[in-house]
Symmetry: C2
Subunit: 338 residues, 2 copies
Amino acid sequence: MARNKVGSHTFRPEIPVYIGNWASVAGKKEAEGPLGHGFDIRSMDTRFGEKTWEQAEKRMQQLALDRLLEKAQLKPRELDLVFSGDLLNQCIGSSFSLRNTGIPHLGLYGACSTMAQSLLLAAMAVGGGYADRVVAMTSSHFAGSERQYRFPLGYGGQRTPTAQWTVTGSGAALVTSQPGNISIESATIGTVTDLGITDAANMGAAMAPAAFQTIRTHLEDTHTTPNDYDLIVTGDLGTIGVEALMQLCREAGISIGGKLTDCGNLIFDPIAQDVHAGGSGCGCSAVVLCSELLGKLHSGKLKKLLFCGTGALLSPTSTQQSLPIPGICHAVCITSGR
Amino acid sequence: MARNKVGSHTFRPEIPVYIGNWASVAGKKEAEGPLGHGFDIRSMDTRFGEKTWEQAEKRMQQLALDRLLEKAQLKPRELDLVFSGDLLNQCIGSSFSLRNTGIPHLGLYGACSTMAQSLLLAAMAVGGGYADRVVAMTSSHFAGSERQYRFPLGYGGQRTPTAQWTVTGSGAALVTSQPGNISIESATIGTVTDLGITDAANMGAAMAPAAFQTIRTHLEDTHTTPNDYDLIVTGDLGTIGVEALMQLCREAGISIGGKLTDCGNLIFDPIAQDVHAGGSGCGCSAVVLCSELLGKLHSGKLKKLLFCGTGALLSPTSTQQSLPIPGICHAVCITSGR
């Protein structure tokens, strides 16, 4: 078996890998939510000074990367690589944000699991000695997502109670070989799991089986139980998906109860902000990780976190063709040295 | 500097990495082309038994993966990981093909550079000791691409002389730590390069600057010249893009002339098959690599190949918004031990 592989689907970086810095950019609604105070950049202009929603998303990634570089005191050419992706068709948020920066780029598509996927690959690249400074980055935009996946906003469509609200935001994290107090200890790569959910307005339910699969695999591969973690954070199952995941865990005899939380449930106030089943979008778990969660790991309030990015791998075309919604979940175990 | 990094944007796998097996699936037009005899599976049914073009694309990936596993005498659960992506919105060709297979999956978006990108990441994963058997896979479908990026086929739109023809096909390669006679020696990660081309029907011109950038970087990083390679293969610049790349090389004093060829120019007969500026699509460089090129490396007819996947990172939305077309190119150096 490969020397840095652990169990069936998990790996540990060959050399220690650290998360050195992070940055988050968020829109108005996100800034008004319970985590609003923690975001680095908060904009009241949801177009971020650009003409279109898609260009606003590109701009958010540029802002997140610029702020990250500023915090890390690095120049763009000092980065070895950026792993990034987003929800826009052909991931134009990511590719346009890196145009002519001269930074090597590998584009990803993992729907809302992209933050975990990019972190995992960054850990592989740095841990394998291929790179010293790699950025993991992603974004999403409520208005761009609505018109691409559902209806144009002007149409005023009613949202169903199971619908989640796509977060307007971008998060970026610097994964590096330079020692710091936050490490990536291991990561579990997910499999495409599909139990036949076809309701595109209930993505939490579609993703829950993938989250369950990956969390169970991670616990088995690393010989741990939920008690070994301070927090197991999914992103983003929302209220419905979390309930489904809890049920799957109960049935499998995994007591995850007191440990589980979800980025989609953390980012908005369920009473004051009407988002139905919670937040979603690549940007949701990205901004929650790159503010609240990494902040608490940095201060030592969290010692060991399992960050589980969940993605619904549907497209409007697959939905129109009555196909079910495959889900995926990648898990990254992040620990604090404090 | 990271111990397996070479020069600015290039890396060498930590331990030797091999390409053990490969498989290709192609449609009718591709089967009738000059490389037709070399494809493992040739279908006269462009729907591959499915109801839609998108599901046909999924089916091609399944067929490519099945044939690859058959050749390698492996079961799905013996694979550590599949890196794959395609051109369909939200990459549904890739995610649907791996539904419920239990194989760990990381989704990519690199447009037509995806075959090179997936090979490069597979080399990183195997070389870093994270995995022993990784599949790099991609696909494209002419009819699905036409209706997504341009016009529905039934509309009968005229193609411009600079247009390229999206290949219907899928290619898959097994990257492994098990010694064989084809090795991945090094790889260069591309940067998003944009010189302002806005004509979405001239993607060769849009991608040529990225190809030039990456080839030049690879030669500098590895201290080689085009003469050190038997072949430098881009995929897919087509006739217009190759001319532009030749001109950029001439201006930079790089004599690439006798060494350069392009998957988009190899796959169709320019006279007998009317494809204007050549083939394109993720599937183009994938099927050419996973038949003709790896075949010639296996037999020793080629000793050293620089495989340069080129992608145009546009979307219909970015084109409608009058934005230019960013390009990217990743290069993988593949050598034969024969």
